[in-house]
């Protein structure tokens, strides 16, 4: 072997070994030396290299690496989480941009540019974060499959649900997204619920909710959101009306009702000075509220509470009734 050939062989071996784990490097180097020497007894160096192929490919075979970050096993869950998180992010940014436009319409252009900017950055960040989390789980083999812990048996084949008993995935996801967005609003921007009025260049905002007591009210609110969230997840996983969904719906609505009563009737939910504060900066409104001598609308939120409560009761009854009806009529045991 000429010096030139020896040099080329060494280069080839180096190209392979630099790509394999340190602990194996020395031995693989010896192996390759042995192999190439043996091959050179019957072949020219060119033929040897042609046979061995790209050193990077060779090294990869030694590494037995996985060629993916997220395996098929995790892929479904990954895509599912990704979709929801992206929708929530985009939705949250969009709503906040719309609200900002309403409050401060003089800088709509700036807000739109800012929104586009935010959505790209936040989208990429969220995408990266979800991917990273799943890659980590993949590497650590964290099991996240909610549905299948037992080995599958034919007994698990449930009858195909009646068409009318199926719960649409889209509806569930829409509800989940709404719950998350609404919770975010309640956590980060409860002051946005209120009255707005333009005064010169400035927009004045009077909150409708009692922000002074918000630290008591918010947890109750969030708890009821959480209960609804669990309910939607149950619906999503089962995919059709069945006893579990019925039970969950009844509990969720009952808890929701109780919490609504607590929030609306027991806790100081409303900003009781709302009307007075609005009247302070809005003369038209003042005329309507204060007529002749006194406040015409006696605002302490009680009437509004009663109306909202009535709507909630109505909605709960309808939902429970529908669920029970559909479960009894079309649903299956589970």
């Amino acid at each position: 072997m000429t010096d030139r050939e020896r040099e080329l062989v060494n280069r080839y071996i180096y190209e392979v070994t630099k790509r394999v784990p340190k602990a194996q490097r020395e031995e693989i180097e010896l192996e390759l030396k042995e192999l190439i020497d043996d091959m050179l007894e019957g072949l020219t160096l060119e033929q040897v290299f042609a046979k061995l192929g790209d050193p990077a490919v060779f090294a990869k075979k030694y590494r037995e690496d996985k060629n993916y970050m997220i395996s098929p096993e995790y892929y479904d869950n990954y895509m599912w989480v990704m979709k929801i998180v992206l929708i929530c992010t985009a939705g949250g940014l969009f709503i906040s941009a719309v609200v900002k436009c309403i409050i401060d319409y003089s800088s709509i252009f700036y807000i739109i540019v800012r929104f586009l900017n935010d959505i790209i950055i936040a989208g990429l960040t969220v995408f990266g974060a979800v991917t990273l989390i799943f890659t980590f789980m993949e590497r650590q083999k964290v099991r996240i499959d909610l549905k299948r812990e037992k080995a599958w048996t034919p007994d698990m084949l449930n009858p195909i649900p009646d068409k009318k008993a199926r719960i649409s995935r889209g509806d569930c996801i829409a509800s989940i997204v709404f719950l998350i967005l609404f919770s975010c609003l309640l956590i980060f921007a409860p002051q946005l619920f209120g009255a707005y009025s333009v005064k010169g260049d400035k927009v004045v905002n009077v909150p409708l909710l009692n922000l002074a007591k918000w630290d008591i009210i918010l947890p109750v609110f969030l708890f009821s959101m959480l209960v609804s969230f669990v309910d939607e997840i149950i619906k999503l996983v089962t995919g059709c009306y069945c006893r579990l969904v019925m039970l969950s719906s009844i509990i969720t609505n009952a808890v929701g009702l109780i919490l609504s009563v607590i929030v609306l009737k027991v806790l100081p939910f409303w900003n009781t000075d709302f009307v007075r504060e609005v009247a302070q900066f809005d003369n038209d409104f003042k005329l309507k509220v204060f007529w002749q001598k006194k406040m015409v609308l006696g605002w302490d939120g009680q009437t509004l509470s009663n109306v909202i409560l009535a709507i909630i009761v109505f909605a709960c009854v309808i939902e429970v009734a529908t669920t029970v009806y559909k479960t009894m009529r079309y649903g299956r045991d589970m």
Binding site: E31, D38, Y62, E64
Partner: protein
């Protein structure tokens, strides 16, 4: 045409991949070094690229089917592989599986010959 060739190539190599471990195990009842194994398989019509074989040998060693030893007595050091006891057992079982498989395939293909 080129695509068809690619497809064929893929299918054939997929078919061969399954037989690789059995071929390698079959030859290592006595100790052999890597390239001697390539040549002895080649003589029997089984072609295997060194860049597939060498990593495979390491993997089988890690799984406990083969053991290796460096022989530094000769002019150049060589790494010899041979089957372990576990390797013997696995080889025997795989061989039985293969015989059954090949019987079945033969029958299937005879019935369906074009």
């Amino acid at each position: 045409m080129g695509e068809e060739k690619d497809l064929m190539g893929n299918l054939v190599s997929e078919l061969r991949r399954g037989t690789l471990i059995l071929s390698v195990l079959s030859q290592l009842g006595e100790a052999k070094y890597g390239y001697a194994l390539v040549q002895s398989l080649e003589l029997k019509g089984v072609e295997i690229d060194p860049n597939t074989l060498y990593p495979l040998l390491r993997r089988l060693e890690k799984q406990g089917l083969l053991s290796s030893q460096w022989d530094v007595g000769e002019a150049k050091p060589r790494k010899y592989y041979r089957r372990t006891l576990l390797g013997d057992d696995i080889f025997r079982e795989l061989k039985e599986q293969w015989e059954r498989l090949s019987d079945n395939m033969e029958q299937i293909l005879r019935e369906e010959s074009i």
